[in-house]
Amino acid sequence: MREIDLTCPVPLTAGDRILLAHGGGGKLTNQLIERVFLPAFSNPALEARHDGAVLSAGGCRMAFTTDAYVVRPIVFPGGNIGDLAVNGTVNDLAMCGARPLYLSAAFILEEGLPIATLREVVESMRKAADAAGVDIVTGDTKVVDRGAADQMFITTAGVGVIDEDRAIGPQSVQAGDAVIVSGDLGAHGIAVLSVREGLEFEAPVESDTAPLWTPVEALFQAGIEVHCLRDLTRGGLASALNEIASARGVRIALEEAAIPVREVVKAACEILGLDPLYVANEGRFCAFVPARDAGRAVDVLRSLPVTRGAALVGRVAGDETGIVVLESRIGGTRVVDMLSGEQLPRIC
C-alpha cells in the first residue's frame, strides 16, 4: 500500500496592487472603501455608505451622487455607455428617495475615437436624460493618448431633491419586511458579456438599462412605507442584499423559485457557470416594505412598463445577523454570500 504524500499549499500573496476584482462591487471593493477611502475622507454623509449622500442645505434635503462608467464594448444590445451613465446616476438618486434634477458629465476620450461614436453616445445620453426628466447642466472633456483609455470613460454626478422627510436606507429595514425585486435579473450583464465574448443565443438578450425614479415615485404616491431601496448593479441582487443585511444586522431569507430570471439569461448563466444572483443589472432595484404593503407594492410596480416583472422574493427575519439565506427550489437552504471578486467562468 502506498502512502499518500500530503503536501499542503500555503502561498504568500502580496496583495499590494489593484486587481480588477477591487472594482467588482464585492468584498474587495468594500475593503478598498474601508481601508483607503473612508479613513481619508471620513464624514457622516459618507459613512452612511448609501448609493448617494443625503445632505441638507438651506432648508432643503437633497441627495448627491457620482459614478464612473467604463464598459467594454461601449455599445451593447439594448444600450450604450451613454444610457448607463445617465440611468446609473439617476437611479442612485432614486434609491435615496430623491427626485433626480441635474447631472454633470465628464468625458475621458481616447485619441482616435471616431466623433460619430461620441455623437451616438451623447445622443443616447440626451434621450436618457429626457426620459428621466433631468438636465445635464455642466461637463468636462479630456483627451488622453491612444491606449491610455479604452475608447471613452464617462463620469456623471447628480443632485436630486427629497420632497418629503423619509428615512430610506438599511437603518430603516425592519424584521418582517418584504423584499421585492422590480423585474427579472441578469439581462444587462449577460447582454454585455455576450457581445464581449462573441456568444450568440437564440433570442438576443438586451440590457435592462432604464431610469427608475418613476416606479419609486409611484410607490411613494401609493402611500407605501418604503424602508430601503437599492439598485442591483455590480454584484447583482446577492451583493445588494448582503450589504443591507450586514449594515442592519438582519437575516434576509430568499425563495429561489420566486426570483424572476428569464429563460435565456438562465441558460446563458448555466453555460458560462455564472449565478444570476450576482450578475449586474442597470434597470432593476430591490425594495424593502412592510409585509402589509407587499402585495400592493408589487401591484403598483407591475402597472408600470419598466417594473412589470416585479416580484416578492423574500423577507427579513431578525433572528440572525448580517446574513442572506436562500431556500432552494428543492427545499434545501444555503447561504448567499457576497462575491469575493469577479465571477470567473468555470472550467467544466
Binding site: 500573496t13 434545501g332 444555503r334
Partner: protein, 366 residues
C-alpha cells in the same frame, strides 16, 4: 429549461429522498468525486434532504484544486514574459502560486486572457503571428478532447506560435489512490458524469471488483445526485459492488470514441503530481513525442519547479475525503476566497469554496 428543470423538480427530489430513507438501515459514507457535484449539493442544500445515516464526502474532482503549485508558478512566469499571451479558463486566474496568481501577473502587466475554449486561444494565435500564445490545459478527461483538438488543428495549420501548458489529470487512478490510502473511509463513489461522457466507465469496473466498492456514474442536478445516492445505497445495503450508470442520458459505457481518439492522437498517459495529494502513478496526460513542440514548458525553457508549501492548509485531506473543509483551523479565518491558502477555496468547484459560499449557515449558528 428543458433537460434541466425536470432534474430540479421538488416533487421528484422529495420522492427520491423518501425512497433513500426507506432503503437505508445503517450509516454509509459516499464520496461524490466531482467538484461540480459538490457544488450542486451545497448550492441546492441537498444535504438537508438526506437521512442522517448518509455522509457525503467530497472528492478530488476539481481540476483547479489539484493543479500543482509548480505549474501555477510556471503559468505566472510565462504570463510575465514580454510578448506572451497567456490564455486560461476563468477560475484558474485566482489560484495562488507560491508567490502570486495569474490575476496578480495580470495586474503587473502580463497579458492574461480568459477564454471559453482552447480553440479561442488558437484563433488568438492565428491573429497574432508575432506573439507566443499559450493555453493552460487544465482539467480531467472532460477537457482533454478540446485541448487535443486545438493541437491537432495547430499542427495541421503549421502554427508555430501556439503552445499549451499541460496539467491534465485522470479520475480512475485518483479513486484508486484514495482507496489505497490509510484511514480511508469511503464505501461507495458517485463517479463524475461529465468525465464518463468522454471516457466511458469500463475503467471503473476493475476498481469496483478489486476493492469491492459500488461506483455509480452520476449527473449534476439534484435529482441526478439523489438518484446516484439511492443507487449506491441500494448496492451497499444488498452487498453488491458494481458500476452502475445513473447518467445514462449522457453517458455510454464505452464513452465518446471520436473524442478518445483525438486525445490518444495527441496525449499519452504519464505520472502526475496532484496539489495537496502528491504524485500518483499514471494519473495524468502529457504530450506525445509528435506534439512535444507544442509543450509550453519546452518552448519557454522553464526550469523544473519545486517550491516549499507550508503545513497550515489541509487541502490534501479534504481532497481525499478524510476531512471536511470546516474541520480546518484556517477555514473562514485565515483562508477565505479573497485570500485563499489553498486551491479548494478558490475554484467554483472547490469543496472549501462551496462550504464557504453556501454552507456557513451551520457555523453562523454555532
Amino acid at each position: 429549461m428543458k433537460f434541466l428543470d425536470e432534474y430540479r423538480g421538488r416533487a421528484a427530489v422529495e420522492q427520491l429522498s423518501t425512497t433513500i430513507r426507506r432503503t437505508v438501515t445503517r450509516p454509509w459514507t459516499i464520496m461524490e468525486v466531482c467538484g461540480g457535484q459538490t457544488h450542486t449539493i451545497l448550492k441546492s442544500g441537498l444535504q438537508d434532504l438526506l437521512p442522517p445515516e448518509i455522509t457525503l464526502v467530497h472528492g478530488p474532482g476539481c481540476p483547479v484544486c489539484v493543479t500543482p503549485i509548480e505549474l501555477i508558478d510556471k503559468a505566472v512566469e510565462i504570463a510575465l514574459r514580454p510578448g506572451a499571451i497567456f490564455c486560461s479558463f476563468g477560475d484558474m486566474l485566482r489560484v495562488p502560486g507560491s508567490s502570486k496568481s495569474l490575476l496578480d501577473a495580470k495586474a503587473e502587466g502580463g497579458d492574461v486572457r480568459i477564454v471559453y475554449s482552447p480553440l479561442d486561444a488558437l484563433k488568438l494565435a492565428g491573429a497574432n503571428p508575432g506573439r507566443q500564445v499559450v493555453f493552460f490545459a487544465v482539467g480531467f478527461e472532460t477537457t482533454a478532447p478540446a485541448n487535443a483538438m486545438a493541437l491537432y488543428q495547430a499542427a495541421r495549420a503549421g502554427l508555430e506560435n501556439f503552445t499549451i501548458l499541460v496539467a491534465h489529470v485522470l479520475v480512475p487512478p485518483a479513486i484508486e489512490a484514495i482507496l489505497n490510502a490509510p484511514n480511508q473511509r469511503v464505501q461507495a463513489f458517485l463517479a463524475p458524469g461529465h468525465v464518463c461522457t468522454v471516457a466511458g466507465y469500463t475503467e471503473y469496473e476493475p476498481i469496483a471488483q478489486r476493492y469491492h466498492v459500488p461506483i455509480v456514474v452520476t449527473g449534476f442536478e439534484p435529482v441526478d445526485l439523489l438518484e446516484g445516492v439511492w443507487m449506491a445505497v441500494s448496492q451497499l445495503e444488498s452487498g453488491r459492488a458494481e458500476v452502475e450508470n445513473q447518467y445514462s442520458r449522457a453517458v455510454a459505457r464505452e464513452g465518446n470514441r471520436p473524442a478518445q481518439q483525438v486525445v490518444a492522437e495527441v496525449f499519452e498517459v504519464s505520472n502526475r503530481k496532484w496539489r495537496g495529494i502528491g504524485e500518483i502513478p499514471a494519473s495524468g496526460l502529457r504530450l506525445r513525442e509528435a506534439y512535444r513542440r507544442f509543450d509550453a514548458e519546452e518552448r519557454f525553457e522553464l526550469a523544473p519547479g519545486g517550491c516549499a508549501e507550508s503545513s497550515e492548509c489541509i487541502s490534501g485531506l479534504v481532497l481525499q475525503g478524510l476531512k471536511k473543509p470546516h474541520e480546518c483551523a484556517a477555514f473562514g479565518v485565515k483562508c477565505t476566497p479573497e485570500r485563499p491558502l489553498g486551491a479548494p477555496m478558490v475554484s467554483s468547484e472547490g469543496a472549501c469554496a462551496a462550504y464557504y459560499l453556501y454552507g456557513r449557515r451551520e457555523h453562523a449558528r454555532d
